[in-house]
Symmetry: C2
Subunit: 196 residues, 2 copies
């Protein structure tokens, strides 16, 4: 009878404002670029940051951290996800030509133990699967313990009887060398489902 | 064809963990109770906290703040809302006997300019309206600029032709004294919609 509507949560939007750097208490140097952040936010979003910033292995008062193994463009998206729980709104990462940044983001998700970001990347890469990239995607999935993406790749190959095209693709030889057991899984599945 | 599900956002749940106090950089003393909090989180959720903690009027390095005008139980719920964008999950506040804490929380929402928390309180009080509390609720709504709750109260009185019962209720005399213009609105509306 009497109802007052409450608008949807604005927590993510509010937190996103912190990306501007106000009140930051830690600075990251990433290959020449500087990013300012807030220890408390990083620590609750990633157990690895928590250990680095608050844990016994971390120096309690670290204010400057150098990151050597992530590109600045990827680190920027990583911070965006940490603060807002979403990828940048422009949709940049879900378009063509951005496979690479999503792959690097998946590697970062694995490194910082951010499960939801990992699944977000797996989901994007899964939607982009084709016969040319599926072998490389499988190698990536295997290297970073992405069970769902790995299963999706194997299903993709077998659902369309695509094994011959995949064997002719660029990433296949690399996959054979780096993940022979997965290639065997793939070939066995293909043998089972073959219509020939 | 190929789909990997991403679980819902866990930002609120992650932030909620900060309520345990780890990494806190500010302490509130509230009538004998102590609450530890994080300046960055408070500042992005309330423009009043932002001014107090980061603005030119605030002392940049304030680490201890005394709060005189809020009860500890209310301050605890306020912090919960700041960190999680929701009221405590136990549903304590939406049951009977908790009108008072929701009213105090509405006052706190006004004081700290937290619009979504204000609407959340307005929504709860609106669902609890009856002829006995509507006059007091109207006075509260008027005092704290809650347009939606005020309109809901007036609709409540008129929709059921309840004006006589409201005039006999305990809060009515107080409302007449404190908000005569609202009482006139109420009586005029009642006169218009009267079925006599």
């Amino acid at each position: 009878m009497c109802e007052i509507q409450v608008p949807p949560s604005d927590l993510s939007e509010n937190l996103g404002k912190l990306l501007e750097g106000e009140g930051a208490d830690v600075t990251f140097e990433v290959k020449g670029e500087v990013f300012r952040a807030h220890k408390a936010v990083l620590a609750i979003r990633s157990p690895v940051f928590k250990a680095e910033l608050w844990g016994p292995v971390g120096k309690k008062n670290r204010r400057r951290i150098t990151v050597e193994d992530i590109e600045p463009a990827v680190f920027k998206v990583l911070l965006h996800f940490i603060y807002t729980d979403s990828l940048p709104a422009s949709g940049d990462l879900d378009g063509d030509g951005n496979d690479e940044i999503v792959e690097h983001l998946l590697v970062a998700a694995d490194r910082y133990a951010m499960e939801r970001m990992r699944l977000t990347c797996e989901s994007i890469l899964c939607r982009r699967l084709d016969v040319e990239n599926v072998a490389a995607t499988l190698a990536l999935a295997a290297r970073h313990y992405c069970c769902k993406l790995k299963d999706a790749c194997i299903r993709f190959v077998n659902s369309g009887n695509r094994i011959k095209d995949v064997m002719a693709s660029q990433g296949y030889e690399h996959l054979k060398k780096t993940c022979p057991s997965i290639v065997m899984d793939l070939l066995e599945e293909a043998a089972k489902t073959s219509v020939c």
